[in-house]
Amino acid sequence: MIVIALKILIPFAVILQILPFLIWLERKGAAYIQDRRGPNRASIGGVRLWGIIHSLADVVKLINKEDIIPTHANRLIYTLAPAIAMAVACVTFAVIPWGAPLDINGSVFTLQAADLNVGILYIFSISSLGVYGIMLAGWGSNNKYSLLGGLRASAQLISYELTLGLSVVGVLIFAGSLELGSIVQNQGPMVWHWNALRQPVACLLFIVAAFAETNRLPFDLPEAEAELVAGYHVEYSSLKFALFFMAEYANMIIASALMATLFFGGWQIPFVSTELLRRHASQVLYYGGLGFGFFSLVAGWLLIRHKPKIIYRDARDRERLVLGMPAILAGMVILLLTATQGPWQLGPNGAQIVTAVLQVLNFLGKVLFFCWVFIWVRWTLPRFRYDQLMNLGWKVFLPVAILNVIVTAAIYLFW
């Protein structure tokens, strides 16, 4: 019981903590791509931390804004829509595998909240329910532009759901099962078995359809600021808008996690299989600890070694110390601990836990990398016009996806 509660709460908490980091990454990434500096003013006690505090300021601002419900808006539907959007975004995390199954003292723990045997279909069906959030938001705001934005957004979403589903069928043919855990384990640790290389067309189709599904540029006409005045969430303020905002980023994280799971090996560390890791877990921990301590030390020293230029005469001059000193201290502590305690004797349980931690970190790294790709593409490509978007979805992607399924099935059958 406790294990299930933990398995539900921990991914949810992790995702909620990644969200402010993603918002910061988006704003800083956008800024550096556009050759400017981005948010770097919000500070706590003079320490700016390169703009991460802006996310905290955003949260405080969004909570304290006035909560407006437009006149003649349908109150129930107006309030329900962001709740549906956020709930759908959060519930999808239940089936994503974070690591290999652990076998502790005879009982098997899967690192998934729910190992459904229709795993991937669960994600697609819950994403189809997310269309309701957008449609009801557009309609319930009693605003022509919201309605137009909402209808456009839902039409775009249901068009690209088909491509999303069909591009995954090739992956399912190889894996032979719908469970996400089996799909990840079917792509072994060797990189040439990962589905991005076995199914390149499907990978590309999935990535583009994921962009369309999360309403991100280049497919973000439904919430285009220039054309539709922010589309379906124009009438929302304060916490309801915050829910939409968070739902968009949560959808982005889900899409990245799906890309990593289905096409890029999920939690598999490239070229290192789970058994290899478990056999050498104590050495991995020892040398990993030494390496990480050394790296932390060097990083801290690199941050600190510049002489503080006395430009501002307040806490901003010593900003590098805020990250540098803890890095050096942590590095020294870890080095001392690891070097003196020596290689630990990990039993089979300890080895599995170390392996699981490494695999979860690996998966998180992949997810964050794909989130960065989302942000990168957003600020690089121009927007599609709506008819070009629908043309692409129905006349180009759908036939290519169907063709991919046929060719994959033929190759799998006759080879």
């Binding site: 279909l121 069906s125 189809s128 329910l129 309701y132 209808l151 839902s154």
Partner: protein, 167 residues
């Protein structure tokens, strides 16, 4: 009262109340949303019957695509509740309809209560995607293909009806 029975009663109550809401809501959008809740409850009841694939497909297609279409149409038609003209029945007619529905309910209740139910033994792969797929493509392949043809006909018909006349 096992956990499954409790879950069943709660879900059945939710399904019946939402179904009543579908026919009695004033606002058409509320009817569609009540229908979504009903279908969701039915999908969970399918899971209780070990038909997991069917449950997920129900949510995916019925609640997630067909009802989206319904809500789309209702939003585009923009019916206000006052514009829906109610065709009234007289009091005598309402009484007769009430008697007929109640007797139907009694007959169904009698049949379901006194029938001898025999649950057949299920194989381990029951309700899986593989078993449903096997049945669809071997025993029921003709209805499957006919359903596909029907959907294509509907699609072509919709496009033809909605096309602008080029003249």
């Amino acid at each position: 009262m096992t956990a499954i029975e409790v879950i069943f009663y709660i879900l059945a109550a939710v399904a019946v109340i939402s179904a009543a809401g579908v026919v009695s809501a004033r606002n058409p959008i509320y009817s569609a949303l009540f229908l979504v809740v009903t279908l969701f409850a039915l999908a969970v009841l399918f899971v209780l019957l070990k038909a997991e694939f069917l449950a997920i497909i129900q949510i995916l297609t019925y609640a997630g695509a067909i009802l989206v279409l319904f809500v789309f149409i209702i939003m585009l038609l923009n019916l206000k509740p006052d514009e829906l003209i109610e065709r009234g029945y007289g009091n005598a007619m309402k009484f007769l309809i009430g008697i007929a529905s109640f007797s139907l309910f009694l007959i169904l209740g009698y049949v379901f209560h006194f029938a001898k139910w025999q649950a057949p033994a299920i194989n381990p792969g029951f309700g899986d995607a593989a078993s449903v797929g096997k049945e669809i493509f071997t025993r029921y392949v003709v209805p499957f293909e006919l359903a596909g043809v029907l959907l294509t006909v509907a699609l072509v018909g919709a496009v033809v009806l909605a096309k602008r006349k080029l003249d």
